[in-house]
Amino acid sequence: MTISDERKRQGLDLLSEKMTGKLRTHLNSCVHCGLCGESCHYYLTYGEDKYLPGHKVDLIAGIYRRYHTLMGRVAPSWIGAHDLDDERIDEMIDVIYGGCAMCGRCTLHCSVGVDISFLVRTARSMLAAMDLVPASLQSTVDAAVTTGNNMGIPQKDLVDTLLWLEEDLHMEPGFEHAEIPLNRKGVNVLYTLNPREPKFFPMSISAMAMVFHAADESWTLSTDYYDVTNYAYYSGDDGIAAELVQRLFNEAGKLEAKTLVLAECGHGPRAIRWEGPRWIQTPYPFRALTVVELMAEYIRQGRITLDPAKNRETMTLHDPCNLARDGGVIEEPRFILKHAAANFIEMTPNRENNYCCGGGGGQLAMGEFAERRLRVAELKADQIRRTGAKIVVTPCHNCIDQLMEVNKEYQLGVKIKTMAEVVADALVLR
């Protein structure tokens, strides 16, 4: 691919703009020990040099050395300093977008402590500044920007679906008066959705409505802005990422919500809960937490009662990377499953050491690299198979979609469920 000098300049300028103490530190710390490969599902699958996390670090650190260090200017090849040239850019697109799930597993295990996924995202930001985001990923980002949700759902369609779900809910015994409140002001909980839920998989919305009803929560959904995802986190475009967070922030303000509750998703809660305040440089005046943490609170406070006997089939948990390893939501899902499932079995490794499902890092959206996405998931398939579980529960719709494909591809014969569905199934109404 031939990239004009002006665009390359934009990429390099972005690197300079982003140069914080943190970035400079991580760019200078890799010692090329080469031990990180065994912590990366891409490298473990393919064994190719290009997937080695240390190599991914070098893709951006080499550019840093070339333009920001003395040795890089006078003796670039000696220290592996590298021009941002067309060849380098092609390599970056292939590996930085197409060969990394930004799952952060290598970061946790790095012998030095280099935040590798942070460097990969910074490299993505450079590519985004050069207008080089893979088309499919960019199209998901664009849909969110122009239509207000990443699937381009018209507001009327959303409302129709929610009303339909509410009607359906009333047919369930015990939920005759359950509600899916829309745009209600001053409630305790403003809930969010992954657009995938109303569009194709709405059972988790009904499930949460049941849980909210059982907990006697005052809650609402917004039909103006509700999207919990933020694919600009994956494309690397901080401007758009901030814009999307700002919209949700404004919506919470408009509805005077006390708590913003983030639906089951990995990167979205990470983007909104952890990166968002930094992107918009404003602390949230409301509490922001994930729905997993909220449901754990309900159980702990006795606001909902669960009967584990209602979920008898053996169940295992897949930890979404952005929720567990980079979001600290680690013990809460286990606490919930202890109360909601009779036969819970851990996969190994788990918690902050869990392997990515293969769909992270925007991989699920990037059809360009779909073949790799399924192949690297063999590790996850083996992990699931070893548990012997019949149900895999995971609090992330992105992981769910990937696991549904993995289930078929590797013939696991399991059911994939959201956390809300498992909790709703175990509810005991008083």
């Binding site: 080469g34 402590g113 600290g328």
Partner: protein
């Protein structure tokens, strides 16, 4: 003070000032204001970053690579031990001569670890693909430093060669990957800020909530 003492001191000062500048410039750089509400507490995470998180049981880069990890640790211990002896010899502080021989043997063996790592880098296809000339020279200087210190201690010969060699090493630190020595503590610190704020570090008690 011999002329070699003077060379060594000069090289050390140049290296120390450059390294300190590198460090302080980085520390003084702006960092993004992060107003997210912390889930965990940062001070224990910082402590954990330099202690528990460094445990080989916690890191696959250690426990999936025991031979390399062990060699690497000994190699680094040897570098610090060589610096210790350099300080003793350069300042003229007398230590009982009986320590020379065991120290020399110890450094010879840690140098072997360094050599093993160098060979791995040169022989393994994966490592060659990841390496730049700087990686080899950085190892050669650090391993050689231990060899020269060992020889000096074992032979009881003059310190001129050691001081010269150490000067080269000092001068190379700030312009090469050896600068990771300067950045390492900062790296751990930034990682602790990240995992600490989010409640990942230190790992909570496993007894539930």
């Amino acid at each position: 003070m011999t002329v070699w003492n003077a060379v060594l001191l000069t090289a050390f000062l140049i290296s120390a000032v450059s390294s300190l500048t590198l460090f302080l410039k980085t520390v003084a750089m702006r960092d993004d204001y992060d107003p997210s509400e912390p889930k965990g507490s940062i001070p224990p995470a910082v402590l954990y970053a330099y202690t528990g998180a460094m445990s080989p049981l916690k890191k696959e880069t250690a426990n999936r690579h025991w031979p390399t990890y062990t060699a690497g640790m000994l190699y680094h211990a040897g570098i610090f031990f060589s610096f210790f002896w350099l300080l003793i010899l350069a300042t003229g502080i007398g230590l009982p001569a009986v320590l020379n021989r065991p120290s020399g043997v110890l450094l010879a063996s840690t140098a072997l670890c360094g050599l093993a790592i160098l060979l791995k880098r040169a022989v393994s296809r994966k490592m060659r693909a990841l390496s730049h000339p700087d990686d080899y020279l950085s190892n050669i200087l650090s391993t050689g430093f231990q060899v020269v210190t060992a020889v000096t201690l074992l032979s009881g010969s003059g310190t001129a060669v050691l001081f010269f060699y150490a000067s080269l090493l000092f001068l190379y630190i700030p312009v090469s990957k050896l600068r990771h020595a300067v950045f390492f503590p900062l790296t751990r610190f930034y990682l602790a800020l990240h995992y600490g704020r989010r409640g990942v570090w230190p790992p909570p008690e496993r007894s539930g909530l």
